[in-house]
Each structure stands twice: as C-alpha cells, then as structure tokens.
C-alpha cells in the first residue's frame, strides 16, 4: 500500500536505466542528485533499485546515499554558480571567498556610480572621459580585493594545499573578471551616444589587471595594485597635458593607445605565466 501511495504522490520516478547506473555508482550529476533526493522519499523506486542491483552494489549505493544525506545542501550562491555551469568544487572555492562577492557588489556599485556621473557630466565635454578613466580600475581593484592574505582568512591553509596557488588565483580572477567586465560592458552599452568609444576602457583594464597580478608576488597584493592606480592616474594626467585639443581623446583611448594596452596585457600575461610558481608560497612577511 505504501508503495502505491508513494507512486500516487510522486508523478515522476527515477528511470530504471538510471537506477541501474546508480547501483553501479556510475550515475553522474545532476541525474545523480535527483535520484538521491527522490530515493529518500520514494519507497517504490527503492524497491525497483533493489530489484535491478545486486546486493553488494546496492550496499555501496546506500553507503553513498548515506554520506550524501549527511552533507548539507549547498548554499544559494553555490547553487547559482552550479546552475551557471561551475562544478561543485569550483562553486565551493568561489563561495569560500566572501570578499569575492563583496568585490562583485563593489564593482557593480562603482560602475553604476561612474555611469551616473558620466551621464550627468559628459554632455559638456562630449566624450565619456571620466568613465573611460575610471572603468579600467574596476577589474584591477576587483581582482586585488579577491586575493591575498589580508582578505582571505584561509590564505595560509590554501597556500599549503596541493592545489597550485596559481590555479586557485586564476579560478577566482576569472570569476571576478567575468563579472567586472560584464558589468563594465553593460555600463558602456548604457552610453549609446558615445558608440564603440565607450568600450575603450577594456584593453587598459586588462593591461592593468594582468600587470597588477604579475607584480603581486614581488610587491605584495596591496602595493602592486596601489602603484598601478597611481601609474594609471599619472598616464592620464600626462595624456591630458599632451592632448592636442581639449575635444580630442586622451592618448590611451586612441588606436595607438589601445595597441600599447594590448601589448602590455600580452607581456603581463606572459610574465604572469612565467612566474606562476611564485603564487605557490606565501607572500613574504605576511601572517
């Protein structure tokens, strides 16, 4: 009776082939998770499972199910990342960086603010200079906020783990960059009057971010991005002084300037890869 009852209650049941794969331990996520969740509540499927599996495989299956029931359900943020295609391990690594989320929200707030400022101030100048000057700092600062002993409470444990520090850095950096660039890109699209020129911050932003990471093992996770913020400001001031006319674009946002940014980004990426092992030990003088 109970079996029939449960069949009446649940319209969906685990496919028999899936149950066989489950018993063999070969059912992959997400079908595996569905089966786990369903088997706990459905006596009928548990009965079918025992019919399609031999005793030893079934015992192993129950053991796995037991271990899984013991595991807490991933948090909302992790579930969102998994829906976006991240593996459960990657989702946990990203969720373990609260500053990552803060840097995402910070990036969002910064871009919205700058976009607002541009919208109210760009009319007279006729160019999104303020936006272009600030936007490249967005990925640089966001990445800096997502990495380092001062901001990651488990930094020391992570450094001595077998997972290479560079791999962990790249996972977190990629996650930050995707959000920072997407948010910045959306803000650029929100300025349709300026056309493609509003996207001229992308290459300088990448160049600054990659250079900041490449300098981090030598200068530390605070000094490296701070120096680059200063350097970028100096470049903009110099470009402003050298500008032929008040209406012309600043040098970094011209075609030549974009080429230089691309070159710097490529060289920085090369150096970063070359010195990747330096991310595998603690930054000296920390902790």
């Amino acid at each position: 009776m109970r079996i029939e009852d449960s069949r009446h209650r649940d319209a969906w049941h685990v496919d028999e082939d899936d149950l066989r794969a489950y018993a063999r331990g070969e059912l992959a996520a997400p079908a595996l998770w569905s089966a786990d969740a369903h088997l706990t509540a459905c006596a009928a499927c548990r009965g079918t499972l025992s019919e399609v599996s031999d005793a030893a495989a079934l015992a192993a299956g129950w053991e796995r199910l037991d271990a899984e029931l013991d595991a807490p359900r991933p948090g909302r943020f992790e579930r969102l990342l998994m829906r976006c295609g991240a593996s459960d391990g990657t989702a946990r690594l990203l969720a373990a960086t609260p500053v990552l989320r803060r840097s995402w929200f910070g990036a969002l707030a910064a871009v919205l603010l700058v976009t607002f400022l541009v919208a109210v101030s760009a009319g007279a100048a006729g160019r999104p200079t303020l936006f272009l000057a600030c936007a490249p700092l967005l990925p640089l600062v966001s990445v800096a906020l997502a990495y380092g002993p001062a901001l990651d409470p488990t930094y020391e444990m992570a450094v001595v783990s077998p997972m290479h520090g560079f791999r962990l850095l790249m996972i977190r950096t990629s996650a930050v960059l995707v959000v920072a660039l997407a948010v910045g890109g959306l803000a650029s699209l929100a300025l349709p009057g300026f056309g493609p020129a509003a996207l001229a911050w992308l290459l300088p932003g990448l160049a600054l971010t990659v250079t900041g990471l490449a300098l981090t093992p030598r200068l530390g996770p605070v000094l490296a991005p701070s120096l680059l913020v200063g350097a970028w400001s100096a470049v903009l001031l110099a470009a402003d002084l050298a500008r032929a006319s008040a209406d012309g674009p600043l040098a970094p946002f011209t075609a030549a300037g974009q080429g230089v940014s691309g070159l710097v980004a490529a060289v920085g990426a090369g150096l970063l890869f070359l010195f990747r092992d330096r991310f595998d030990v603690s930054v000296r003088g920390t902790v």
Partner: protein, 286 residues
C-alpha cells in the same frame, strides 16, 4: 627509528631579523613537541616545514619528498596536514562546508568520496553532531577542532600543529590533547606549544628553540635530566638562582647552580626547559 622529516641548515631572514638560524632536525613517527619563548622562531620553522614559505638556505625532506621543486612541493603537500597558529575560517560556512572546502583544496575531486572523508574527520574530532552549525556559532574549542579536522583530511602522514591549545580552557585543552595523541598514532606530528604539560603528556621527542636556533633536541626525560641536581627549595627566593618562583606550599623553587647545603628538589621538564633557555641567553650574551 627511521626519520620521516629531515632538515639541515635551514635559515631564514625577514629583512634584518634572523628568524631561523641554521636549523637541523630529524622527526620520527609520533608527536614531537616544539618548545620556545615568543619570537624563538617556532612558527617560522613550522611555516617552512609546511611549505608556506621557502627558507633562504638549507634543505629538508618530508616522507622522502624534497619540496625544493614544484613537483616535490606538491607531493609534500599531499601528505601534509597543517593547523596554523591562527586558523582562519569563513564564518558563514558550516563546519561541514569548511572542511569540505579544505578537502577540495586537497584535491579530493570526487564529491562522494570527499563527503565521506569530511564526515570521517568530523567524527574523529567529535564534531559530527554540529557539522551543520555555522562556524561563527561554534565555541573557540570547537573551531579549533574544526581546524584540526581540516588538517586531518586525506589522512596526512605529516601533521604540523602550531600552538593548537592556546586560548582553550583546561577541559578543552585536555580534550584536544587526547585528539592530538590519537592523531600521533602512525603519523609524524610536530606540535608547537608554550605548555610544557603538553610536551610531558604527549610527546616522545622534544625540540627547544631560542633566537631562531635549536637549543635542545631529545626525549622529554633527557630534557628533564638537564635539571638534575640544579633544582632546590628554599624559604626565600635565592638571589643566586637563574629562576625562582613561589610554589603552592609557600616555599620557593629555584633552578640554577645550587648553593652549598641547598635542599634538592625533583627536577621537572619545565626546570630543564628553563635551564636550556638560560644557557641560550648566556650564549647569546657571550
């Protein structure tokens, strides 16, 4: 007994500060205590042996692997459990999630196997019942056990524990000692501590450090023997003693070179430790 961890000539400077000075040691399976005052270089030595920072000079091997190369370092880390002096947590994680996070860092890729391992280590430190509780809601002792569970993930052959009993009340400290004693069965444990009682109760070997250098290496009994004939009782503090303190009975316990006719007392590990430190001070002053 064959050594599992062997170091020779380890030196490390932070600017002009000499944190490690030509440290050589050999560790064998069981718990080895690392004693020393603040600034002695204990944490620096543990961080070097845990591959968190490289030494300026010298070399060491862990379970036959040389961390001087990238591949060797990874092999060492696969066999390492590390509990830092101030373990950091993601306070919003539950105990299970945090240990699971460390298990991911330790390359336990298969979700099922990983969860089974997380459950095993949480049971080992007696935290299975609070596995779903957020870390920020756990007591200090429980957090420390979560950190120990994280260090035990993957059944490491070499366990590095940096002052794990600091800040714990006496009951928690006793409980933690039991856990460390259990963890020391079949694996090499290096335990940094200020507490000579930790060493007396847990360790089969002891190393004393001062000013970045190893000042003593031997068994706890050998360290105690350093104080044989150099401890005496008196009704007043003896001005000639290297150290003296009032005991619970009201008399003074003195260590150093006893005056003629002094009433000798049974030496303890603490007496031996104090004398080793005093000898180190004398050596530095000279």
């Amino acid at each position: 007994m064959t050594s599992t961890v062997s170091a020779s000539g380890l030196s490390l400077h932070y600017g002009r500060t000499r944190a490690l000075d030509d440290v050589s040691l050999r560790l064998t399976p069981g718990v080895t205590g690392l004693l020393g005052p603040n600034g002695a270089g204990k944490t620096t030595l543990l961080r070097v042996l845990a591959t968190a920072v490289p030494a300026d000079r010298g070399a060491f091997t862990v379970l036959g692997h040389d961390p001087g190369t990238s591949r060797g370092r990874q092999e060492v880390r696969r066999r390492l459990g590390y509990l830092p002096q101030t373990p950091g947590f993601h306070p919003d994680f539950t105990a299970f999630e945090f240990v699971d996070y460390v298990a991911i860092l330790k390359e336990l890729a298969d979700r099922r196997e990983r969860h089974r391992e997380v459950r095993r280590v949480l049971e080992e430190v007696d935290l299975a019942d609070v596995r779903g509780r957020r870390i920020k809601k756990l007591s200090g002792g429980m957090r420390q056990r979560v950190a120990l569970a994280a260090a035990l993930v993957g059944d490491p052959g070499f366990l590095v524990l940096d002052e794990p009993t600091v800040g714990l009340d006496p009951e928690q400290r006793m409980r933690f000692r039991e856990l460390i004693a259990g963890a020391g069965e079949g694996r090499t444990v290096l335990l940094s501590t200020h507490q000579t009682e930790d060493v007396a109760m847990l360790c089969h070997r002891v190393i004393v450090m001062a000013d970045g250098a190893v000042r003593f290496e031997g068994t706890p009994a050998e360290l105690t023997a350093r104080a044989a004939g150099r401890v005496w009782s008196s009704t007043e503090k003896d001005p000639g003693a290297k150290a003296g303190w009032r005991t619970g009975t009201g008399s003074f316990r003195n260590v150093g070179d006893p005056p003629p006719g002094a009433e000798p007392a049974e030496p303890t590990l603490e007496d031996g430790y104090l004398l080793v430190l005093d000898d180190a001070d004398t050596e530095v002053a000279a």
